[in-house]
């Protein structure tokens, strides 16, 4: 089945089964590898991307549900890795293996878009769907606070623009 998708600001057509999860369309058809396969049942959050500005678990999100909503992956979060979260992640040196971090950053971007100055509790609530097998949670909290300090307004703006339908 043919679907017209708006991914990271570009319109593209794919011919895939209607029940194919967005994750596999991104990874195997569009060759966008940031979103990761970790569990296949929305348990780990490694596949988190934004659809219409909302964070979704793309491993269980059928491509047929996307419609005209804009899809944003980590590759499209900023033009050249300069989103406050990306900068904060680099400064704090958050990752160990790094496998979950695309999903972590996308969940954090959605949080900052709604809550520019989150508390630890806000962070824990918004990020509890994203597992980190290496246990970098304390640095994730620190980096989100840092990004919020660096430019919560800029962060919110980027996500809202990307999330426009």
């Amino acid at each position: 089945m043919a679907f017209k998708l708006n991914v990271n600001g570009h319109t593209t057509s794919v011919d895939v089964p209607a029940d194919m999860p967005l994750l596999w369309v991104l990874r195997d058809v569009l060759n966008l590898k940031a979103a990761k396969f970790g569990c296949g049942m929305a348990q780990c959050g490694a596949c988190t991307v934004h659809v219409g500005g909302q964070p979704v678990r793309s491993c269980m999100y059928p491509v047929s549900q996307v419609g005209t909503k804009a899809v944003t992956t980590l590759e499209g979060l900023s033009a050249n890795g300069t989103h406050p979260l990306q900068q904060a992640w680099e400064t704090v040196d958050v990752p160990q293996c790094g496998y979950c971090q695309a999903g972590q950053i996308m969940s954090a971007a959605a949080l900052l878009a709604k809550t520019p100055k989150p508390t630890d509790k806000d962070i824990d609530t918004a990020m509890s769907g994203n597992l980190c097998r290496c246990g970098t949670y304390l640095r994730i909290r620190e980096a989100i606070h840092k990004a919020a300090d660096m430019g919560s307004n800029a962060a919110a703006k980027t996500v809202q623009t990307a999330g426009k339908e």
Binding site: D19, K33, F37, Q43, C97, Y99, C134, R141
Partner: protein
């Protein structure tokens, strides 16, 4: 890959350090490894003569490229080993480019990630390599500037002559260096730690820019022109075989290109080998992984489940109970007379502890990409032991190791799971069936959780006596594990010097084993991850029975030890190297630092909140940890953990080190509360993170403080030793806070949960 001819080897052996020009300009350094590095992983056999290895390239424009030789699984080794070279070479870290080595043991000697061994093995040779390079640039500059070498200094990739204010960059000197004879290694002067500019400073992961922008750097991201995608269905019971399957129907499904049965050799060993290798099953190869996996759901397979179909966790527990009541099968250690000591003790404490099988579950599911062309295999994998993986592939497929090239790709976690290489041999087998076409195999999470090499479960029946002064006088442990006769299943043994051996005069360790039909293997801090919980919880029980402060009781115990015996000549021990045994003074140092930082015994907590303490020595690392918990009913909140470790004289990358300690604590919390693999009718019941969970951010401690004792010992690894003590530290805190002594892992079995 061609074998180097013997003339080349002789030449390299004589020159010890080889310098040559590189295509496009610049210089390349080759240097040998210390023999201990070469010996590692070779079962203690005599090391081969040193092979030259190419690690440093300096281009004419001054660009420095350093080869990162080991598999990166998140432990930060990709930064650490090149940092050692770069500091001694005296170049600016921000001008260094890293190049990941392919697997090539003729060039790089040991290339593996396991046993926290990279730091101790590479510390000297990596620094020597850098220092040798620096010495050559000084020689070249002295010739060029016409001044004595002694008047020259280096810094940021330049040689400087202070009095004449002249300097030359390494790039300018590279052509001259390429013509110099090798330096005299015996005269090389390594830096004093006070001179380090890179070692000991915080450096973010080299790949962080790629990670935060989603660049395709992991095994699962490998993409090749014309590549197909595979999944692989195995029998739920280990060793089961396909009788028949609806392959003709599967082949007709959308996107499916191939479907076939993968055969394996029959294993008849009573105890499974550490790497049983290829399993029998059905491969489906399709246009995308989703097509393959959708077809897999339509598979109808009749299995011959084989001899392990009767295995069950209920059965294991029942057998353990029988074994625990019977006379132990073997005595692994008997110092003094423990029975007599217990008879005359003022107080005897008895307790049974247990821990379950658990899965590694690295977040990146097992995967491997392979293409078979003209009798040769090219592979992309993220094994922790790529050399063993390549050998397994060669042996199973009948392809020469020299006809298999292996690219080492970043791994989304290892934790010991990628020490074994079943996914590699599966990918190779499947690729060989479709010659000329690259195939990427990806396991589902359920494949991973149900076909792991599990951390073995076990039981320990302990009995100890204390005298009137509160000193432990006798210790007996009946250790119940898996195996056959005198052979333990993989990673299921307890060594005869397990703590508190040497610290209790009358010490008996006995064991009994039962057979096992599932695979076991090394999980981060193997055996220690379970034993520390048991031993340090039981010591806590003894401290309370003696009416002593649990920290002081431990310090007294550590101070009472017999002297450390001389280390064995070679081989054995955890992590593949000779363990020197625990130095009590270093552990006392770690304990005292932890107690000082957490203000042990000085804080007044409300009811339900308390601190607990524990220590454990593993992988040459000394760790003492204190947890502060609040217990509300069955809910446990870990407020804070203080970690004090001694891993030698130098923390190579403090940023990575702190991160690994956070990981050790949080990983340990997952094991303590959440994780259990059970077996029913030969099959693993749990399949995903909903049934085999891990700590989430809202359950993580509010704070983890990391402190290091800077001792005079040579630096050792940090991938593992921070994990084991956190389990008993928390369990002991729960006891003090709530009066609940929990002896069975995971604690969720007692109805507990993380707040």
């Amino acid at each position: 890959m061609k074998r180097k001819d013997s003339t080349q080897n002789v030449l390299n052996r004589r020159s010890f350090f080889k310098i040559s020009a590189v295509a496009g300009g610049g210089v390349m350094f080759s240097f040998p490894f210390a023999s201990d590095l070469l010996a590692q992983g070779r079962g203690g056999a005599a090391p081969p003569p040193p092979n030259p290895n190419n690690f440093i390239k300096v281009a004419l424009d001054g660009t420095v490229t350093i080869v990162a030789k080991n598999p990166e699984t998140g432990q930060g080794v990709r930064n650490m080993l090149p940092m050692m070279i770069a500091d001694e070479l005296d170049v600016d870290w921000k001008n260094v480019r890293l190049e990941q080595a392919d697997f090539d043991d003729t060039k790089y000697a040991a290339q593996s990630s396991g046993g926290s061994t990279a730091t101790p093995n590479a510390w000297t040779p990596m620094r020597q390599a850098g220092a040798a390079g620096r010495a050559l640039f000084i020689t070249a500059a002295a010739q060029k500037l016409g001044v004595p070498e002694a008047e020259l200094t280096t810094g940021a990739g330049k040689v400087n002559h202070a009095s004449s204010k002249r300097s030359a960059t390494y790039g300018e000197l590279a052509a001259a260096v390429a013509k110099l004879p090798p330096p005299d290694f015996s005269r090389l002067k390594l830096k004093d730690p006070s001179e380090y500019k890179i070692i000991g400073k915080k450096h973010s992961a080299y790949d962080i820019g790629k990670i935060v922008t989603g660049a395709p750097i992991f095994g699962v991201d490998v993409t090749l022109p014309g590549m197909l995608h595979a999944c692989f269905e195995k029998c739920g019971v280990f060793g089961g075989k396909v009788v028949k399957a609806n392959l003709d129907e599967i082949k007709k499904l959308p996107g499916v290109k191939h479907a076939f049965v993968v055969e394996r050799p029959v294993i008849t060993d009573a105890v499974l080998p550490g790497e049983p290798g290829l399993e029998n099953g059905i491969a489906i190869v399709a246009e995308t992984w989703w097509h393959a996996n959708s077809a897999r759901k339509k598979l109808v397979v009749e299995w011959n489940e084989g001899p392990n179909a009767g295995d069950s966790s209920v059965g294991y527990a029942k057998k353990a109970e029988e074994l625990g009541k019977a006379a132990p099968q073997r005595t692994l250690r008997a110092d003094g007379d423990a029975d007599a000591a217990l008879k005359s003790a003022a107080k005897v404490v008895e307790a049974s502890y247990s821990y379950p099988f658990i899965a590694h579950a690295p977040l990146e599911p097992q995967n491997c990409t392979a293409v078979f062309k003209d009798g040769k295999l090219e592979m992309w994998g993220n094994s922790q032991q790529p050399g063993r993986g390549r050998k397994l592939v060669a042996d199973t497929l009948g392809v020469a190791e020299t006809d298999i090239s292996l690219h080492m790709v970043r791994a989304g976690g290892g934790f010991g799971r990628r020490l074994t290489n079943d996914y590699m041999v599966e990918a190779a087998w499947i690729a060989k069936q479709v010659p000329g076409v690259p195939v990427k195999l990806i396991w589902s999470r359920e494949d991973d959780m149900r076909h792991d090499y599990y951390r073995p479960g076990g039981w320990q029946n302990l009995k100890a006596g204390i005298d009137a002064s509160g000193k432990i006088v006798g210790w007996k442990n009946h250790f119940l594990s898996y195996g056959d006769g005198e052979t333990f299943a993989s990673s299921s043994a307890m060594g005869p010097t397990e703590f508190p051996q040497r610290f209790v005069p009358n010490y008996t360790l006995q064991s009994s084993v039962q057979r096992l039909g599932i695979r076991t293997g090394a999980l981060r801090a193997p055996s220690s991850n379970a034993f520390a919980f048991v031993i340090q919880s039981f010591i806590d029980e003894l401290a309370h029975a003696a009416g002593k402060d649990p920290a002081q009781f431990r310090l007294d115990l550590l101070a009472s030890g017999a002297p450390l015996p001389a280390p064995p000549a070679a081989g054995g021990g955890r992590g593949g190297f000779a363990p020197p045994g625990m130095n009590a003074d270093r552990m006392i140092g770690a304990m005292k630092l932890a107690m000082e930082k957490c203000e042990w015994g000085k804080k007044k907590y409300p009811a339900g909140t308390a601190q607990g303490i524990a220590f454990h020595f593993s992988h040459m690392g000394y760790f003492a940890e204190v947890a502060e918990v609040t217990v509300t009913g069955t809910k446990v909140k870990v407020n804070k953990v203080w970690v004090a470790g001694d891993i030698g004289s130098q923390i190579i990358n403090p940023s990575g080190a702190e991160n690994l300690v956070h990981g050790g604590v949080i990983d340990g919390m997952s094991e303590l509360m959440l994780q259990e693999i059970t077996v029913d009718k030969g099959k693993v019941v749990q399949g995903n993170f909903n049934t085999h969970g891990m700590v989430r951010i809202n359950q993580a401690p509010i704070a983890i403080e990391t402190h290091f004792v800077k001792s005079t010992a040579s630096p050792t690894g940090l991938g593992e030793p921070s994990l084991p003590p956190v389990l008993p530290a928390i369990a002991n805190a729960i006891f003090t806070a709530s009066g609940k002594r929990l002896r069975q892992l995971p604690l969720s079995k007692a109805g507990m949960s993380w707040a």
